[in-house]
């Protein structure tokens, strides 16, 4: 009960802080005066670089790398090329600076991209005839279930966190817990909605893990 109260208070504080920022961000200047001289930012005593969002080329290439070569397809072509203009890619005639903000529109397209590639990746993984063809379910198999297959599933999640986020997670770390919970919950809920008392749908679970990994800031920022 106490923990829940702390969370609610925390949420309220964060929302009020965001609203505070929001008020200051409403100003819009359609003709920025200094496109070539980025404003220095306060970096304190220890110079650092700010964490950045990938540019669209990096994102496109990286999604293909982590999925073993599956690109986002939309309307019969590469989705990132198709929506380049809306994604803020500079074409140097009308836009000379690439927009690399984590905007709502960016997150919407990233979500579209992740759902497209992850669905096809799961088709590939679940239809694979040999283990060598797999890039996602490498440490676990399509038959593994929680809780009995916990060890193998967690090993696979650690592998995925390295593959997608470049994040080393030690064996036994609780960092995999949110991911295994998501896998289990989505697998259970996916089948509950469709078929009542049938087996949990781990294909849907792993697909949501894939979507979550791509939509996570640890994937699209560095």
């Amino acid at each position: 009960m106490r923990q829940r109260s702390v969370m609610v208070v925390g949420l309220l504080i964060s929302v009020s802080m965001l609203l505070g920022c929001e008020r200051e961000q409403v100003m819009v200047d359609p003709t920025p005066a200094e496109v070539s001289e980025p404003e220095p930012i306060d970096i304190g005593d220890q110079p650092y670089r700010p964490r950045r969002r990938m540019d669209i080329e990096q994102l496109d290439q990286s999604i293909q790398r982590v999925t073993g070569g599956i690109e986002w397809r939309s309307g019969g072509r590469n989705g990132f090329s198709r929506f380049a203009s809306m994604l803020g890619v500079a074409e140097y005639v009308e836009r000379t600076v690439e927009d690399r903000s984590v905007s709502v529109l960016f997150l919407k397209f990233l979500n579209d991209a992740s759902r497209d590639v992850c669905e096809r990746l799961m088709n590939q993984e679940f239809d694979a005839e040999s283990e060598a063809e797999k890039v996602f379910l490498v440490r676990a198999s399509v038959e593994d279930r929680l809780p009995e297959g916990q060890e193998r599933i967690e090993a696979n999640l650690r592998y995925l966190l390295m593959r997608f986020h470049g994040r080393f997670v030690a064996e036994g770390s609780t960092e995999v817990n949110p991911w295994s919970e998501m896998l289990e919950q989505v697998a259970a809920e996916a089948v509950a909605e469709d078929e009542g008392d049938a087996e949990p749908d781990y294909r849907a679970g792993w697909e949501s893990v894939c979507v979550g990994l791509i939509n996570h800031p640890d994937f699209f920022t560095y």
Partner: protein, 542 residues
């Protein structure tokens, strides 16, 4: 279900705090600042590998690369060095230079609309239908047949004993027209597929009836001139789009070749390497001279030494050496067309490569009176002189390159002072288009009169800057290398690219230090990138 909600609350809270520290662009409170600034974490070896890979190769590392790192203390610099020798790194540098040079001319037209082709469907009775091509400009159809938009007849053309096209005179919509038939032609863009072309449009004469070369733009409305041998002066619409892309690709290839060859960085702006594919070579030799709205000849490529290439092959590229008057990317067709005035060219160079953007002072420009406003010399006019005292002599480096175009004004043809242009400017006779375009032939102030008949670049130019015109942008580059502005700015721009932020004043000593290494290392861009990625600042991320 309740657990799920709690999780959502917790993750929302964590995400909000993270986003405010990481991406927050709004003004933070003092407490937030302090909280976010307490410690700047140094990323671990895996995160460093990932960031370096994204910046130097444009993609995350492979799982094998991560696994190979497991037993190592840190990312070996040899890995990064190896990456900077690959094509993926070259592609990143190409991308970076697109952002510096804005190399896109997709909003221009390279081919003359008067020589554009369209087609109509001929449906002869009892025979298969087919397309007949013709020049679609109103001027051409009127010149050939007497009425705007008049097509030829879908019958084979007839020729007289002299080989001239015979046309049939008749009334069309109340206008007397003379309509010919069609001929079969092998077009340069598809030599294996002959097409039907209206006979007037398909004429191959090199000289008009009045003995003027049909290749000249002035013959666009001459009924005795057509599209030339194999339709060489005419084109289909999509070709223009592809040619513009090819011109931009030439720049990309120059940057990539420069990086792969690991040449001194300044040579990118002063060298003579360029690339051609077949359609570009064909365009330069047969078509570029047609379009006098966008003059690009002479002098951009050496037509005599240009390789003989297949005009249908877009994918085969050959490296060529440009004539001596070129200065790398600063005289590339794309740069000259993207920045069509000499001031714009100098401005882009000063901003991108010298870190000296021409901007008014923060306090604004002074209010000037009428007398000051009438000063025709921007180098001295109050307010304007803040930028133009420097910009005018800088722009003069492009003084021998056409504005609103890209042709080279060869000193052997275009002297600094033209007696003909001076006399025509004084009203002795009407001025030629060369005088009007490239020389001062009209004055609006007595202070301009001494410059009458001089190449436009010399107007108000001080004598000590005359060399700028004659020696071109390469002189500008040489001077900027020698006085350290170019190396310092190269470091600054590269750091801004890889750090993702502007540099602070107190980082100037670091810039100078890396700049000295860049200078000592013979200006290798590859090593400069490694110096920035290998710095402590790059390893600290927030």
């Amino acid at each position: 279900m309740r657990d799920s909600l709690e999780r959502v609350c917790w993750w929302t809270f964590v995400t909000c705090i993270t986003c405010m520290c990481v991406f927050g662009s709004g003004p933070a409170t003092a407490q937030q600042d302090a909280a976010c600034r307490d410690e700047v974490p140094r990323v671990d070896k895996y995160e460093f590998l990932r960031a370096a890979s994204l910046d130097l190769r444009g993609v995350v590392p492979t799982i094998e690369e991560y696994e190979a790192l497991a037993d190592l203390e840190d990312v070996p610099m040899e890995w990064l060095e190896e990456w900077t020798r690959g094509e993926a790194y070259a592609a990143r540098v190409v991308r970076r230079h697109r952002a510096l040079l804005w190399s896109n001319v997709s909003n221009l037209r390279l081919l003359d609309g008067d020589y554009g082709l369209s087609s109509f469907r001929a449906r002869p009775a009892g025979e298969p239908s087919f397309d007949i091509y013709l020049r679609n400009s109103g001027g051409a159809t009127t010149a050939y047949r007497g009425r705007r938009g008049q097509r030829c007849d879908p019958v084979p053309a007839i020729f007289d004993a002299m080989g001239q096209v015979v046309c049939e005179t008749r009334l069309e919509m109340g206008v007397e027209v003379c309509v010919e038939g069609y001929v079969m032609v092998t077009p340069y863009w598809a030599p294996e597929e002959p097409i039907a072309v209206c006979a007037f449009d398909a004429q191959t004469a090199e000289l008009s009836a009045s003995e003027i070369p049909c290749a000249e733009t002035s013959r666009a409305g001459d009924p005795s001139c057509g599209c030339g041998e194999n339709m060489k002066w005419c084109s289909l619409g999509a070709r223009d789009v592809d040619l513009r892309k090819a011109l931009a690709e030439d720049v990309d290839r120059r940057v990539a070749a420069h990086v792969i060859a690991d040449e001194p960085y300044y040579e990118l702006l002063s060298g003579r390497r360029a690339f051609l594919n077949g359609p570009l070579q064909f365009w330069w030799t047969e078509q570029a001279q047609h379009y006098d709205n966008l003059p690009l000849t002479p002098g951009v490529i050496d037509e005599e030494t240009a390789p003989d290439m297949d005009p249908t092959d877009w994918d085969t590229w050959e490296e060529i050496t440009l004539p001596e008057h070129h200065s790398g990317l600063l005289t590339s067709p794309v740069f000259l067309l993207r920045f069509q005035t000499n001031r714009a060219r100098a401005d882009r160079f000063y901003d991108a490569f010298l870190c000296q953007p021409f901007q008014p002072p923060a306090a604004g420009l002074p209010v000037i009176d009428d007398e000051q406003a009438r000063d025709p010399d921007l180098q001295t006019r109050a307010g304007c002189n803040y930028c133009h005292a420097l910009l005018e002599p800088a722009a003069a480096h492009w003084g021998r390159w056409m504005q609103q175009g890209g042709g080279y004004l060869d000193p052997d043809v275009y002297e600094d002072i033209s007696d003909e242009c001076r006399r025509c400017g004084m009203g002795a006779f009407s001025c030629s288009s060369a005088c009007r375009q490239h020389y001062l032939t009209r004055t609006y102030s007595p202070r301009q009169e001494p410059y009458l008949g001089m190449l436009r670049a010399y107007e108000f130019l001080r004598e000590e800057h005359y060399d700028n015109v004659e020696m071109g942008p390469a002189k500008l580059v040489r001077e900027a290398v020698a006085d350290d502005r170019f190396p310092q700015c190269s470091v600054r721009r590269t750091a801004e690219w890889l750090f993702g932020r502007g540099l602070r004043d107190d980082e100037a000593p670091w810039v100078s230090e890396v700049s000295a290494e860049f200078y000592g290392g013979d200006f290798r861009y590859r090593e400069l990138s490694l110096a920035v990625v290998g710095s402590e600042t790059y390893r600290r991320v927030r």
